[in-house]
Structure formats: C-alpha cells, structure tokens
Amino acid sequence: MARPGYMIPELLGRLGKKPVTVLYPYEKLPTAPGLRGKIKFHTDKCIGCGMCARDCPSGACVMVEFKGEGRKKSPEFNLDRCTFCEQCAESCPKDAIELTGEYELAHFKKNELIIR
C-alpha cells in the first residue's frame, strides 16, 4: 500500500541506537586482520635482487646503493607514492617485505615516510 512516511517505523526503530559514525581520533573502528598497511622491511633477509622495484606499479619502490655488507643494492619504499597493493611482498623471493595493518601514515616530514 503506497503511502507517505512508509519509512517512519524504521526511523523510530533507529532512535534507540547509538550513531553509526565514530569520533575518529579518540575512537577507532577495528580494522580487518589482512589489511594492507605500512610496509615493514626486513633488511637482513634482502638479497638485493630488485624484483620488488621491477613489479612496483606506482614507482614507490626504487633500488638504491646499499652501504652495508652483503649486497650492493637495497630497496627504498616511498610510502607517499605507495598504493599498498602488496605486489612487492608477493614478488620478493626471500619474504623480506611484509605489510602491517598500520594505516595512520600522516607525518610532518617526508623522510619519515621512506622505509629503508
């Protein structure tokens, strides 16, 4: 039966519930366990093969000179360019790259968003 205010019973049903939105910085929604967030790089496992940089779709992962022992080059992850697709972790033959669930990536200095 078509009538105006057909949705009113549903509106009344919602009156007792708390708002759907949350006050973000103080109250946070839980994230999914498999969320692709900030990259974690295990430098001890890396062999400097460059597969991550080769497959990176956004140019966030680039190979740079490595000062330490063991290999000549090492990847550098620019999180300001990263699209968090996890392709680098998938391409890595030594599982040296992992994506954590950390999603709050606002920083004051650009340097803080580069992972070496």
């Binding site: 057909y6 759907v20 999914a32 969320l35 497959d55 779709p57 697709c85 996890e86 392709q87």
Partner: protein, 393 residues
C-alpha cells in the same frame, strides 16, 4: 541555439568520464540535451602500453573506483585467454564471489545516491550504513575496501578461510533482510514513487538503438545479462535469475537493482557453500605471446568490455576499454528530451553514471535568450523545491 562559451569546470581526478550536459529548455520542459564527455582523459589506455602485465593489474583497477574489480577481471581474463592458461576452479569461484560482493556494494550505493537526488536523504544514510557491512567483508577478504588488488593473472591472490567465510555468510543474512526492506520501501514509499515513476522512459526499440546496457536495459524489459549470455569466471555453474522490469523508467531501475542485489546475495551464499577445494592460482609467465583477446563482464552498471593485443613482450601492445557508462550515456541524451528540468538529476542518476559528476549543467532559456550555469548541487535543490511547491506535479 546561440554559440556559448563556458568554462570547463573543476575536474574531478577520481572519475573516468566526466560529462557536461547542455540542456535547451522551453519553460520547464527540456527540448534538447547535448552531452559532452572526455574532460578528464587520463590516458590510461596509452599508459598500459608502457607497463608490464603485473603493473597493469593495478592500473586497470583504477579505471573505476566503484567497479574496480570488474576491470581487473576483464584484464586478467583477456591475458589468460592469450596465454592459454585457465585459473583453477577455486580461484574462479573466489573471483566470482568478489564480483558479486562488488555488485552488492555498488547497487546499495546507487540506492543511496538515488535517494539523495530525490531529496530523500534518510534512504541515502540508511543504505550507505548497510553498505558498510559489505565493505567490511570486502576488506576482510581482500585487504582493502576499494582497490581490492585481489585478482592476478591466473587466479586470485588470497584464499578464503573458515572464519572469513563465516563472517561473510552472516553478513549476507543481514543484508538480505535489509535488501528486502529496501524493495518494500521502493514499492510503497510515496516519495520514491512520485520522483521515479514515469520518469526517464526509454522504450525497448530505443534501448536497442542506443545500445543501453546493464540495469538500464533490463529495466526496459530486455533480459540481457553478460553473466547469462556469455558466462565468464564461475557464472556458468551458479543458478541465478536475470531480473527485468517492464516499466522502462527510473523506478524500474530501482526495482531491478534492488532485486538484483538479493539475487547476488543468494549467489554469494551458494558459492561460499559450494566452494571447490584446491589451488587458487596458477603461475603465469611474465611474457605474453603475440595475440589478441576480448573479454566481457557484467559490471554493476552493465557490460564492460576489454580488448587486449599483445606483442610477445612483457608489456601489452594495446588495451581498449569500453566502460558501461560510456554505453549508457548515449540514451541519457534521448531520455532527457521532453523531461522536466527537475527530473534531470534523477534521469542522469538513474543510469548510475560512473563519473557521477555532472560538473556543470547549462540551462539555456529559449525565450529569454539567457543562460545561467548551475552545478549539480543547485539543480538538486531546485528539483526538491520544485516538487515541494506542488507535490502533485
């Protein structure tokens, strides 16, 4: 019509095909509508040629923000076709599940957008609240809410474990009750009926002539669905009905989309319960031999086509994408003729335009020979006011 120069509006970089409508009016009636598209040409098709197939997976995903998965499915299918590899059954099922989840979230989004356009923001708020359920499931399953990065050439990237599938089924049960409520509201709430019934009518011959796709076509009573007509992924094995409506108007599209969502929920449930065991992907070589392939999928908005040509290297030679909105925008110019100005937002929103941004609408009054520019927000307000003045219009 006098020649008019106008500024190109603020460009929204997130959308594929922004459009501009030049509408000629006589009083309140639209006598002519001219649509211009292509203001934000991002050059994705050319960019594809300079990237490897793996990098292109993430690029094709960004063609559209709402139906991102259907584009990667198409790209993967075309590449797999040239390579001659077939993903394992479990991979195909998982691909189909995400495709259907995407349809659910896209149709719920449309219900909200349509509600917003008709000035019924309650519907907008509630449907978007329910959409969060499916968005959370997608995040849990794929790792992201919008750009899932779930597809890969030769299958999918993540498996579905028991705890996720339990949550998925629970979410589907909740959404089914909610969707049934939306069907009920759509058929009985006067606000929806008055703003959608008899508006944006596209008759069957015109629908065929302008090659309408998706819910716009099915609302005209033509039972055409790529999932049935050319089954891809696992669609050949899943029972489902093609929903049609006979009314040919915006209300028909509401009904088609709402019932289609219920159908998708049933499909997801069937697929999760009958998920084959085994691998989720096969290894694909980096270099693709020369060849060409066409892949079609039913995106939430209609038929989406990818044409891919390879040249033996690890980069494609050519990719052509025909998005559903591109096909549907043709019939909008036709349906706008004879409509009231106040119904323009509803008709345009009816096809669920992917770009969603009717950046600028130019109203030219033939009698006064004046023109003034209004944006979408003003037009929406005008429409709500116009119907408020005399509700029985």
């Amino acid at each position: 019509m006098a020649e008019i120069t106008f500024p190109i509006g603020p460009i929204h970089p997130a959308l594929k095909e922004p459009e501009r409508f030049m509408i000629t009016v006589e009083g309140e009636t639209v006598v002519n509508a001219d649509i211009r598209i292509g203001h934000i040409h991002r050059g994705i098709e050319k960019l594809v040629e300079s990237r490897t197939y793996i990098q292109n997976l993430y690029l094709t995903e960004r063609i559209c923000g709402i139906c991102s998965f259907t584009h990667t499915t198409n790209f993967c299918q075309a590449t797999e076709d040239i390579l001659g590899i077939a993903p394992p059954p479990r991979g195909l099922y998982l691909r189909t599940i995400v495709n259907e989840l995407e349809r659910i979230h896209s149709h719920l989004l449309w219900v909200g957008v349509a509600g917003h356009e008709m000035g019924f923001d309650t519907l907008f708020m509630y449907s978007w609240d329910d959409r969060e359920v499916v968005q959370d499931i997608l995040e849990l399953m794929t790792g992201n809410r919008v750009n899932y990065a779930y597809n890969t050439i030769g299958g999918v990237r993540r498996d579905l474990n028991q705890s996720v599938s339990d949550k998925l089924l629970k979410g589907m049960d909740f959404l089914e009750t909610r969707m049934k409520a939306y069907v009920d509201i759509g058929l009985n709430e006067t606000t929806i009926l008055k703003r959608t019934q008899g508006i944006g009518i596209l008759k069957q011959p015109e629908a065929r002539k302008y090659s309408a796709v998706g819910p716009r076509l099915r609302a005209c009573g033509i039972a055409y669905d790529v999932r049935k007509a050319d089954p891809h992924a696992a669609y050949g094995e899943i029972p489902f009905d093609v929903i049609t409506a006979e009314t040919s108007d915006v209300h028909g599209q509401y009904v088609v989309r709402a019932l289609e969502t219920i159908e998708s929920i049933k499909m997801v449930r069937y697929m999760v319960k009958n998920l084959p065991a085994g691998d989720i992907r096969v290894k694909a070589p980096r270099k693709v031999p020369p060849g060409e392939a066409i892949s079609r999928t039913e995106a939430p908005r209609g038929e989406d086509i990818h044409y891919l040509r390879s040249n033996g290297t690890d980069k494609p030679d050519r990719l052509r994408v025909r998005t559903p909105t591109m096909a549907n925008i043709l019939n909008v110019a036709h349906t706008l003729k004879g409509a009231q100005i106040a119904d323009v937002p509803m008709i345009v929103a009816g096809i669920d335009p992917c770009m969603g941004c009717m950046d600028r609408v130019l109203i030219i009054d033939n009698d006064k020979e004046t023109s003034n520019m209004v944006d979408m927000e003003e037009l929406r307000k005008y429409a709500i006011e116009w119907y408020k003045e005399a509700p029985n219009r």
